[in-house]
């Protein structure tokens, strides 16, 4: 070692190789979370659901949750371990972060959504942008728009083809398709659900700054409201309409914990709670309502 190197050694900002007990605990938690993900392969939804993700921008992959009812962890990743997802926004001129949203769009997020009319120009534009990302669908056939949810300038909605029953979930912002997923199709039938129950058709948790987390589920006919409280973070009000609930949020902190509690109210005024992972519709161990055995019907073979 020469003299310069010896001098520089004395300027090391992180000289101690040993982890503190807190750091060791944190590293083990991260290890457990990472190894819940599928080690390779393309996007699938949590709980072994058939590939249901379509039309995502190339900057974003969804990692499948390998275990039952585990979270899908969202990262922007490309070959070679390099990360993408920072192309300049076409509409706003702002850099997009890994979710495909801009920093401003994330900052404008609200825990309680607005509900613009399905016929409003901004919603029609959002639906058209999303449906254009599904090359195998006839966009003109998706005439039913529901579950419109607006948080800042970001709109999510469900679009349905009444003839086939095919339903997609869309997220768009400023004319950009951010996220689009098939919710119901002949090859991906919806599970049945009890009148007072809710389930989670899927959810994903973002890892890292600039990502988003999201959850979508079914709501029984007696369900009047749904909210979600992340394990770290404030309560988020879901949009509930026509038998579905949906919400999304910028995770904070952005490295987990990847869990939270769903609370739903029913027409009789009762309130019910369950961990998000426990109500995953495609889980083999569904549960609902205050930790008691599930009343959710699970699709055969799921």
């Amino acid at each position: 070692m020469n003299d310069i190197d010896a001098l520089l050694l004395g300027l090391d900002a992180e000289p101690g190789p040993r982890l503190t007990p807190a750091e060791t605990a944190r590293s083990e938690r991260l290890l457990a979370q990472i190894t819940q993900c599928a080690p390779s392969g393309l996007a699938q939804y949590a709980g072994g659901r058939p590939a249901a993700v379509r039309g995502r921008p190339p900057a974003r992959f969804v990692l499948a949750a390998a275990g039952v009812a585990a979270a899908a962890l969202v990262v922007g990743m490309a070959a070679g371990g390099q990360f993408l997802g920072h192309a300049a926004g076409h509409q706003t001129g702002q850099a997009q972060v890994r979710s495909g949203l801009t920093v401003t769009e994330l900052a404008d997020w609200t825990a309680v959504p607005g509900h613009p009319a399905a016929t409003s120009p901004v919603v029609r534009r959002a639906a058209a942008t999303c449906l254009a990302s599904f090359s195998s669908f006839d966009a003109a056939a998706f005439t039913a728009i529901s579950d419109v949810d607006q948080r800042g300038s970001v709109i999510t909605l469900m679009a349905t083809d009444p003839a086939s029953g095919t339903m997609v979930f869309c997220m768009s912002a400023s004319g950009r398709d951010v996220l689009s997923e098939v919710v119901n199709a002949s090859y991906l039938p919806l599970p049945a659900i009890g009148a007072a129950a809710v389930n989670a058709l899927g959810f994903s948790f973002g890892i890292g700054s600039g990502t988003i987390s999201e959850a979508i589920g079914e709501a029984g006919s007696d369900v009047t409201g749904v909210s979600f409280k992340p394990a770290a973070g404030k309560t988020i009000t879901a949009t509930v309409q026509d038998g579905f609930w949906s919400l999304w949020w910028p995770p904070s902190p952005s490295n987990g914990p990847f869990d939270g509690t769903v609370t739903w109210t029913t027409a009789d005024g009762a309130s019910h709670t369950a961990d998000l992972a426990s109500i995953l519709a495609y889980s083999k161990k569904p549960a609902t309502g205050n930790g008691k055995p599930s009343a959710i019907a699970v699709s055969p073979g799921a």
Binding site: L11, E14, P15, G81, F83, A95
Partner: protein
């Protein structure tokens, strides 16, 4: 849990954590470390030969892309202990406060890539070939940059204490030390 990945993770977590801490603010450290090991989990086949350089390179790319995402144009700057850093139990080779500040100023004046070239060798303890792999440059290009960066620092610092012709900066520092001793 995959035993081979678990072993790799536990073997290298501390090194990656320190690598990241030297380069980003504390609030972003966990995010970068998480993304780095998540990438490692998904691309284990790429790391077989040299896991640590692969991890460092991936962490570096995560940081650079995050910087680009928020519009930071400057390169990745390697943080140093401006004062009171280093192993508290070790003998500080930079004896005086002013001398340390001189070196800190000189370090901060280096091109970010030159900082990285030196940091990979001195603090991450990599050999030339591994360090070149982290930066994605040839071994020859790495050696040239490393030599040039060391010469730049050496020229600015001047002769070592005790040598006949100390540089003005070092000489001022010694005078100040004598005044307070």
């Amino acid at each position: 849990m995959d035993p081979s990945f678990t072993e790799l993770y536990r073997s290298h977590y501390s090194a990656v954590l320190r690598f990241v801490r030297r380069r980003v603010r504390e609030a972003d450290v966990d995010d970068v470390v998480s993304e780095t090991f998540l990438a490692a989990w998904r691309r284990q086949d790429e790391m077989a030969a040299a896991p640590l350089p692969w991890l460092y390179r991936t962490a570096r790319n995560v940081i650079l892309n995050a910087n680009r995402a928020v519009g930071r144009r400057e390169g990745l700057v390697v943080r140093i202990a401006s004062m009171g850093g280093g192993d508290p139990g070790a003998v500080d080779p930079i004896a005086g406060f002013e001398q340390r500040q001189d070196l800190v100023s000189l370090w901060q004046g280096l091109d970010p890539l030159d900082q990285e070239v030196l940091a990979l060798q001195v603090w991450e303890g990599l050999g030339g070939r591994e360090a070149a792999a982290v930066l994605g440059i040839s071994r020859a290009a790495y050696s040239m940059r490393a030599t040039r960066a060391r010469r730049r620092l050496a020229a600015a610092i001047g002769p070592e204490p005790g040598d006949p012709e100390p540089s003005p900066a070092i000489r001022v520092a010694r005078i100040d030390q004598e005044a307070y001793s």
